[in-house]
Assembly symmetry: C2
Amino acid sequence: MRKVAVVGLGHTRFMSDSPKSQVEMLSEASMDAISASNLTSKDIQAIFCGNVLGDFSEGQGMIQSYLADDIGCFNVPASRFEGACASATMAIRDAYMWVASGFYDIVLAGGVEKATAMGTSLATRTFAMFHHARYEYPAGFTFPAFFAMLTHLYSGRYGVPLEKLKEQMAMISVQSHHYGAKNPKAQFQKEITAEQVLNGFTVTTPLQLLDCCPFSDGAAAIVLASEEAARRLTDRPVYIAGVGQASSGKLSAQHKYLPRLRAREISVKQAYDMAGVGPEDIDVCELHDCFSIASIIAAEGLGFAEFGKGGELWEKGETRIGGKIPINISGGLKSKGHPIGATGASQVCEIVRQLRGELADEERQVGGARVGLVDTLGGDGVIVNLILRRE
Amino acid sequence: MRKVAVVGLGHTRFMSDSPKSQVEMLSEASMDAISASNLTSKDIQAIFCGNVLGDFSEGQGMIQSYLADDIGCFNVPASRFEGACASATMAIRDAYMWVASGFYDIVLAGGVEKATAMGTSLATRTFAMFHHARYEYPAGFTFPAFFAMLTHLYSGRYGVPLEKLKEQMAMISVQSHHYGAKNPKAQFQKEITAEQVLNGFTVTTPLQLLDCCPFSDGAAAIVLASEEAARRLTDRPVYIAGVGQASSGKLSAQHKYLPRLRAREISVKQAYDMAGVGPEDIDVCELHDCFSIASIIAAEGLGFAEFGKGGELWEKGETRIGGKIPINISGGLKSKGHPIGATGASQVCEIVRQLRGELADEERQVGGARVGLVDTLGGDGVIVNLILRRE
C-alpha cells in the first residue's frame, strides 16, 4: 500500500450556539483545508464525513451530500460515518485506505457537529442513544453516569482513594484550560484553578462540572493525498504511519476488564505495530478526555503509564510541554470543546500542526515533535487511533 | 488491487412490526452469512454496517458495536455508514476496498432497519430528514412529494401523457408483486392487478398507494473475501467486478437535469468502466424502485432504455425473466420491502443468488445469469452501483 499524507487542514472555532448550520460549518473547514492544500474543489475525488446527532439537532441527515454540493464537489462519492465521538477519526481512517490502496489520490475527510442548540439536558439524553438502548440507557447510563462509575471502579481497583483521584482529575482540567486559553479555536479560553473544579457543581458523584467536557458546535477537515501528490502540494507532508480501530460492545460484555477499555489496547497496538513505534516514541498525543477520568484511563491504555498510575503524569507535569509525554496541548475536549462528530478530525489537525511546528506563536509548540498519536473514544467502547509522522 | 468475492449471505424475512431489535435482526442475517461462508465469527476481521433511522426508531445509535459484540466479533473494527437508502451499498463498497487493498482478507458487511413501529406518517416525516433540512423539507419535500414531482416532470419533459405514464407505473408494481409473491423473504407475498393500483388510494398526485414501496423491518448481510480466501471457502464465488458512487446534493442544484439523476449516470459509468462491461452485458438487475416512477428513471439512467422510453420495458415484459433485462426479480423494494439501511445489502444478496443459480426452486431464476447490477438511490441523489460477476 502507498504512503498517505495530510497536506492541508481547516478548523472552525469551537463554540456554543454557532449561527451556522452543520453543512455551513463543515463547508468552512473543508474549503480552508482545500485551499491550504493548494488545491481547488475540482481536485477532490471523494469525501468522508463524521457526524452523529445532526438528524436530531437540525433534522438533517446525510450532510455529506449537501456538503459536496456546497463546496463544489458535485457528484463525487461522499459517505457519512457514525461511530459516536469517534466518527471523524473513523472517517479519516477509512479515507486513508482509499488513498493507500491506490484507488484515489486526493480526498477530503472531516467531521462536524451542532449540538448546543438542544441544550445540555436534551443533548445528554440524545447522546445516550450511543449506549445500548435496551440494556444500558434504561439502567441509567448517560455518559456522565458511565464515567462516574468508571471513576469509582478505578478508585477501587487500583486503591487510589477517591479524594486523591479527584485531585488528580482536577489537575487534568486545570492543564487543559491552561493550554486551551492559548488556543484561538478553543471554546473556553480561560484558565481555571483546582479549587474551582473541586468546589464546583457536582454533575454526578464524583464528577464535578469542570471534570466534564462541554457540548460544542464546530467542524474540522483535512485533505489526504498519496505520497506522490503530497510531494507536489506541500513541503511539509505529515504521513499517516499507523491506524487502529476496535469496538467493545456493551458494558456488560466488558465488566471483567473495566475500568480498562480493551478496545483501546487492541486498537493502539494495531497502530503502533503498523507504524513500527511504541508509546516511548510518541512526542505528542491528543487523547479523548470527555471526562477527566477518561484522560487517566486513556493514558494508561495507550502505554504512557502503568495501570493505576496515570493520574501521576498530570500531577508531575509530565503531560505538559517539556514533560515526558505532552497530552492535549490543544486544550483537549475539556477546553477546546467537543463537537462530537468533529472531534477526531480536530485532534488530527492539532497533531499535524504540532508536527509541522506551527504552534510557537500560540505558545503551544512541543519542540521537535516528529511522531504524534491520536486517540478517540466513541460511546462506551469504540476506539480509533492514528499515528502521524513527519519525515 | 486484489479481486474480492462474496462468499456467503444472510437475509431475514422483510416485514412490518418485527418483534426483534435492529441488533438482533442484523445478528441473525450476519450469523447466517458467516455460517454460509463456512466460517466462524473469529474469522471476521472487520464489520461495515448500513443503518439510517435506528437512533429515532429505537433510540439506538452505533448499532455496529453491539452487533460485533452479539455475534462474537468482539473488538474488531466496526463502522456505521449513513447514505440514506444507499447506506448498506455504501458500506459494502467500502468493505470491498478494505479487502481489495490487501488490508483484510475476510470482512462482514450489511445493513438493517426497523422503521415500521413508528407508523407510516412519522416514518415519512423522519425520513424527510434525508432531504435538505433548510431548503427542501420546509418547502414540502417528503419523499412521496419528491417522486410525485418527478412524475410530473417526466411526463412533461418526455411528452408521455400522465395517464399513460400511470399505466406503465402500474405495470411495474404488478410485476414486482408477481415476483415478490414467489420470494419467501418478501414483505408482501401476493399478486396485485393494474386496476388495484390505478383505483387505489392516492398518496400524492399522481402517485397511488401501490406506486409506493412500504416501510419495512429487516436485515441482510454478506461476507466478502479476497480471491485466495474465496477459493478456499466456496466453489461458487461471485466477484465484485465494479463499484461506483456519486452524490448530487440538493434538488435546486439538480434542477436542470431532473428527472434524470446525474449522480446515477456518473456512478454507473464508474462501475461499468471498472468491470469492463456496458448495460448490454447485464443479465439481471436490482434497481431502486422506492416509487414506481423511480424504476423508470433508474432503468434509463443505467442505460437499459432511451430517456423517455423506460416505461416501455415493463409494458413489453422486457423486465421479466426471459426479457431483455430482467429487473427486480426479487419483488424489488415495492413487494420485497424496503428496510432502508438494509436495502442495498438485500439487493446484493439477490444478485448473488441469481448468479449462483439458486432461485429455480422459487421460480425466480434468470437462466444463465453471469453479470448482475445493483443500483441503490439514497435520499434525493446519492447513488451507489455494484457490478457482480461469476466466473
